[in-house]
């Protein structure tokens, strides 16, 4: 059964550094999402992406964040200058339809020191 994959599984970085989190959505899916979960807190929506553009973003998704679909398979989340509070588990999800069920990747645990 096809699955969403994410790399790396863990990333440790210094405050102020740029990180790129990578996701490969399920191949026939058209809607892509990033969520994050700070330890002990809720899973929070960051951004949705469709037709090569952002369709919705949360207040968390400020100018330090960007998303890209550089080719037909990858979907990336870039954090330009990481802060301590960006430490979290980041989940990618994809969906075949706009309001269809979303399928999640295993997550990338980001630790900012």
């Amino acid at each position: 059964e096809p699955e969403v994959t994410q790399t790396p599984s863990h990333q440790v970085t210094q405050m102020g550094q740029e990180v790129i989190l990578r996701c490969v959505p399920i191949s026939n899916h058209l809607y892509f999402y990033w969520y994050r979960q700070i330890l002990g807190q809720k899973v929070e929506f960051l951004v949705s992406f469709y037709n090569n553009e952002i369709s919705e973003k949360s207040e968390i998704f400020d100018d330090q964040f960007s998303v890209e679909r550089p080719d037909g398979s990858n979907f990336t989340l870039k954090i330009r200058s990481t802060k301590l509070e960006d430490s979290a588990m980041y989940f990618c999800a994809s969906s075949e339809a706009e309001y269809g069920p979303q399928y999640f990747g295993p997550g990338t645990r980001l630790l900012v020191l």
Partner: protein
């Protein structure tokens, strides 16, 4: 703005006992509700969506618009049901494009 509340962080039952995981939501429009499950060291997996009205792994959930609830139930819990359960809401129309709003999650432990 929409909100999802799962009042219980932890829920413990014995094998064979009924289990109910509570979920309440607030949203003025017509929501879509989901239950996701996360087993130990695994990814979030879709368990149920209200629109399909199906039973998965013996779990059912009914959307009660009057009480704004979407509680997850199973008549006889099994040890393999032990996991983290998340209730999530999606809204149609307006400026929403299918984003999910999650509850805090409930850790279910089923004892032998």
């Amino acid at each position: 703005a929409q909100r999802v509340t799962q009042p219980e962080k932890l829920l413990s039952v014995f094998k064979g006992a009924p289990v109910e995981l509570k979920c309440n939501y607030s949203y003025s429009g017509s929501p879509e509700l989901f239950w996701y499950v996360q087993y130990s060291r695994q990814r979030l997996q879709l368990l149920l969506r209200h629109i399909s009205r199906e039973s998965i792994k013996g779990f059912t959930a009914d959307l009660n618009k009057g009480e704004t609830s979407f509680h997850l139930k199973k008549p006889f819990a099994q040890e393999e049901d032990s996991a983290m359960y998340y209730c999530a809401l999606s809204t149609r129309g307006g400026t929403s494009y299918g984003k999910l709003t999650f509850g805090q999650g409930t850790i279910l432990t089923v004892h032998p």
